[in-house]
């Protein structure tokens, strides 16, 4: 099933509550395949019941597309088999790396250099050949920057050369625009419209005026909602997912934010 409308990240910790949701409340769910592959018992059962009722997107964490470690081909094949089993069409990952001499299980900033582009593009093509579809890569939040290019130059070049698509995370654009002093509006406007497959929105943590951390542990801020409106205006309405990984509010509060996405999608001037 293909994703559309507004979605929510499925969490094992909220599985019981989330299993009670209806397609009127949430259009699609997103999961990290690394947390749901090879999973039986009560979790596997609840997951299968949900995939029969809702479209799903896989949003991976361990691919490590920008890593110097070898690409884990067996893992990519296992992701493909998992998606085929559950009828999942969408697989997104991060324009990032999360391993160096072993997995580190969180996202690191790829140096924005020409040799990194060559490396990433070649690995994206390998993954796309196995998955038989374009890889969708998310712009990630970063707190340090390496390399001579800007994030925008690097991202556009990777998309252009690899034929990959983008998961536009508007919160990450906001966070990075503060952390690395650039114009978030200009960044979103400059992205190629046809490459944007879907959108993420989330809350962040204010470490300092000039340093924001992408925690997914707070409500979405007004500045970020404005960037979502802008993204719809520039690139058209795309399926959009609310990410929340920590400090879970009540289900009604979460659904309130999902409904805000719906309202903005319906009200978008396109």
């Amino acid at each position: 099933m293909v994703i559309s409308g507004s979605g929510l990240g499925l969490r094992r910790g909220m599985l019981e509550e989330m299993s009670l949701l209806t397609p009127e409340q949430v259009d699609f769910f997103e999961i990290a395949p690394e947390n749901w592959m090879n999973l039986g018992g009560r979790f596997g059962k609840a997951f299968r019941a949900l995939t029969e009722r809702f479209p799903f997107a896989c949003h991976g964490l361990s691919l490590s597309i920008g890593s110097s470690d070898p690409l884990d081909i067996e893992f990519v094949k296992a992701v493909k088999a998992f998606m085929d089993t559950h009828g999942i069409e969408t697989y997104s990952e991060h324009l990032s790396y999360c391993s160096h001499n072993g997995h580190m299980y969180d996202l690191l900033p790829i140096p924005f250099t020409q040799d990194a582009i060559d490396h990433v593009v070649s690995r994206i093509q390998t993954v796309q050949d196995i998955l038989q579809r374009p890889l969708i890569l998310e712009n990630v939040s970063t707190y340090a920057k390496f390399g001579e290019m800007t994030e925008l130059e690097f991202t556009k070049e990777v998309v252009k050369r690899s034929g990959c698509e983008m998961l536009l995370d508007v919160n990450n654009v906001f966070v990075n625009s503060i952390n690395h002093s650039y114009d978030p509006v200009g960044f979103i406007k400059a992205l190629p419209t046809k490459a944007i497959h879907y959108i993420h929105i989330a809350g962040h943590y204010d470490e300092a005026d000039d340093l924001k951390v992408d925690t997914h542990g707070a409500p979405v801020k007004d500045d970020v909602w404005s960037l979502l409106d802008l993204a719809y205006e520039i690139h058209g309405v795309k399926p959009t997912l609310l990410e929340r990984d920590f400090n879970f509010p009540s289900m009604s509060e979460l659904l309130g934010e999902v409904n805000q996405i719906k309202d903005r999608q319906e009200g978008a001037y396109v």
């Binding site: 990290a32 690394e34 947390n35 592959m37 090879n38 999973l39 039986g40 018992g41 009560r42 979790f43 596997g44 059962k45 964490l61 361990s62 691919l63 890593s67 110097s68 884990d72 893992f75 790396y97 160096h100 001499n101 072993g102 997995h103 580190m104 299980y105 969180d106 690191l108 790829i110 140096p111 250099t113 040799d115 990194a116 490396h119 707190y143 340090a144 390496f146 390399g147 001579e148 952390n179 470490e207 300092a208 340093l211 951390v213």
Partner: protein, 245 residues
């Protein structure tokens, strides 16, 4: 660092994130590097404390932090799957990296037991539990797929922060039924009996007990009644099933 290739930058940056040495890193503000150091270490600590809560309570806080830090720095995790980070941690506990930490002797046994609980809960079974009636005297029997035997050097199921335990061979049978994980403590003979059932492909209970009595220097008559009784109990719990020849 702009004159370096991206691999060299990645090497230097990941070294700095893993490092215990909190000194500055060329070209990056200390507070920004600190964000990465905290995010990464707390993330790994969260996985480990989530899977091994009893071990965490049993260890002194400083020792716990030191152990997780050592795991984060020294152990090269191969698995892309988050639930399997716990298996990487078990491998670390058995490696040289952990040997210098002076951990309590029961650490590995307890950690393995806590992992076993998680493993049993999430295990992806290929077959459903059979509810078919069993003839104890004639059927060829084996264990169900969601039953696991474990032998430990400590009574791991009794360890609490308040209660220190003495070394003592401990046999536990963990099983999942109706999506709930349970366990039974076994004596050494019932452990061997269940193990024989797990490995069984063509023997009747009488044949299995004959072999057990011979290898353990016990008389068949001494064993058979007790064996039948405990197998009937396992049958009631649906831990064993018939093999169709």
């Amino acid at each position: 660092m702009s004159d370096l290739n991206f691999r060299a930058i990645q090497q230097a940056f990941t070294d700095a994130i893993r490092s215990e040495d909190q000194s500055d890193f060329q070209g990056i503000e200390a507070r920004r590097l600190a964000v990465y150091r905290e995010l990464f270490f707390n993330n790994v600590e969260g996985f480990i404390s989530g899977t091994f809560p009893v071990l965490k309570e049993c260890l002194d806080e400083n020792l716990w932090q030191k152990m997780v830090r050592e795991f984060f720095i020294k152990h090269e995790c191969e698995t892309p799957y988050f639930l399997e980070i716990s298996e990487e941690f078990l491998a670390f506990l058995q490696s040289e990296g952990a040997s210098s930490l002076n951990l309590p002797d029961f650490t590995y046994s307890l950690a393995h037991w806590e992992w076993m609980e998680l493993f049993a809960d999430a295990y992806e079974a290929q077959t459903e539990v059979s509810v078919e009636a069993i003839q104890l005297d004639s059927d060829i029997l084996t264990s169900i797929e969601t039953a696991w035997l474990q032998a430990y050097e400590y009574p791991v199921h009794q360890i609490t922060p308040e209660e220190s335990v003495e070394q003592q061979a401990t046999f536990l049978l963990v099983y999942r039924k109706n999506e709930t994980v349970n366990f039974i403590e076994l004596n050494p003979l019932s452990y061997l009996l269940f193990q024989a059932l797990q490995n069984n492909s063509n023997q009747t209970i009488t044949e299995i007990v004959k072999e057990l009595s011979a290898t353990n220097g016990l008389s068949f008559d001494q064993l058979i009644n007790g064996a039948m009784e405990i197998i009937a109990h396992w049958s009631d719990l649906q831990l064993i099933k018939k093999i169709h020849q």
